[in-house]
Symmetry: C2
Subunit: 355 residues, 2 copies
Amino acid sequence: MTQYPHGPSLAISLAAIARNYTLLSRQLMSGRSGAVVKANAYGLGVAQIAPALLAAGCRDFFVATLEEGIYVRKILSTESVPSTVYVFHGARKGESKDFLAHNLIPVLNDRMQIACWNHAGPAALHIDTGMCRLGVTPEEAIAIAAEGQKFELLLSHLACADEPSHPKNNQQLAAFRAVIQHFPGTPASFANSSGIFLNSDYHYDIARPGCSLYGISPNTDLPNPMEHVATLSAPVLQYRTLTQDTDVGYSATARMKAGTVLATVELGYADGFHRALSNHAFGYAGDVRVPLIGRVSMDMVSVDVTQVPAHLHTPDMRIAFICEQQPVDVLAEAAGTIGYEIFTGMGNRVRRMYA
Amino acid sequence: MTQYPHGPSLAISLAAIARNYTLLSRQLMSGRSGAVVKANAYGLGVAQIAPALLAAGCRDFFVATLEEGIYVRKILSTESVPSTVYVFHGARKGESKDFLAHNLIPVLNDRMQIACWNHAGPAALHIDTGMCRLGVTPEEAIAIAAEGQKFELLLSHLACADEPSHPKNNQQLAAFRAVIQHFPGTPASFANSSGIFLNSDYHYDIARPGCSLYGISPNTDLPNPMEHVATLSAPVLQYRTLTQDTDVGYSATARMKAGTVLATVELGYADGFHRALSNHAFGYAGDVRVPLIGRVSMDMVSVDVTQVPAHLHTPDMRIAFICEQQPVDVLAEAAGTIGYEIFTGMGNRVRRMYA
């Protein structure tokens, strides 16, 4: 039985992440799957997740920054299996020696980064086929190929892969295909989580799933094929049975009737529980769905537990906000955002627990 | 001259926090001002801020949890000046010895907490006068007084103090006044930041400002009397001059004209830069206001820097998102939230810098 801490927690199944990795790998018709573990593995804890993915067969890890790369290398240094770590933001001027010292591969994004790197070691090239965010243009990439420059990997990133019918997917694919033929024999990486579920044309040599590993749906229209990974719950600080009709919380945005039983739960927006959830989201007390009442405070939120059997109104009761009954995507939609922002926003007071 | 790190940063003026503390103290017609430093001093860094407040004359610190209390005690243990640390969430069963060992004062919130604490040491009592969140009811408080129980401090919390004309302010004040007369000689604490600016009836013995110390406006209607404290900025990863009309970012939600100069900035929602800011907020490149273009990504956001002189388009340019020109309250409003959520949500990749 799980021993919960006195406070909010995110209980993370490393086994579920490993199974999600296996499911994604089996979906690929070509190449292999890497894993995106930037932003502390989307807030869930890269120190535990990177080794779990390595054990599941992953050999290619992607992070955003040099600092993240150094940390992942440190985490994986105790493992006997070799792995590759790519850094999306590339190498800045003066950082080459850090990349080499830590065996990190920069993803070079423009002519300036390529010039600063100056063939210091293995590097990847990012080609912008339609995100307009980072990467060289297709025309620049072709010119770079003509100069005879070599790369370990060619990358591009899909802008609309979660909408399979979006015309931009095909446009990006055509652009990527046209460019990479100028780099014969160089491996390519194109598909993010959603791209893996488009079709095999998008798979290439190394896929780069992120969200789907962590249980977020890779697709906005279809049932989520991924396994639930992380359960967010928090304990009740106090119960109160209203003896009269009463305003609840900041700015008195909710008014509850006499007889209502409220539970004040130890989870607030400082923990990453979005204030936008005020008054219109739900938690779960076991199998009972309990509505949020009033504004989310910095350290607390109130829920209506009137429908929860009274004998369960104890200090041991925890309210779950992300769980099998309410996946992260559902909570995110209630907050007007996506699961990625919910996970990456989880605060430092939320204890990560691993099983 | 400030040396910025290679990445997003929050530059925090401890001197401005100290001056804000002094301004609040002078505003008080009775009693003294404490400081609320829960949630890592609203995300800005309690390890630096608690000593700065102590040096400014603050002697009463308020945190949310036992863990936060232990940490603040550790931080202040090297200071020769004595101080008091109150823990809002109170003491759970079995935690008395931790509170006593670390010289922490629990704010007891209900009969169960009072019973568990069992006079183990000094404690405060929280009276709920209208928040309906934590605290005993006025009736319970009067009964507790009749039992002869003694407390170091009586607290209550205002629900609507940022709206000076809200009738709830007077109602809460009347309820608090009626209860505390049952505890003669016991100090009382009622005003949060906004309460300090209501009128002297709300001041009592110890005020508990939080947001205003950190530069957030204590009042939604009047000019902000507080000094700007924290500047959020991030470097440019890449510039791109569009050679044709181009979609920008995830889901192609923005389309920009040929000739536009975009800067991809190293700040995303994983850093606490809300995704809700997508397509309708601004940053500052020096004094030039630059609009956000497209969706905020996990690690990046694009801004239109066409109006910024071309000679400033260098890797050294930083885009500010919270600054004198754009206070945290303005950014928060663009994100549909309050400054408190912006500060407490700042991610771990955002380097806190102190001056």
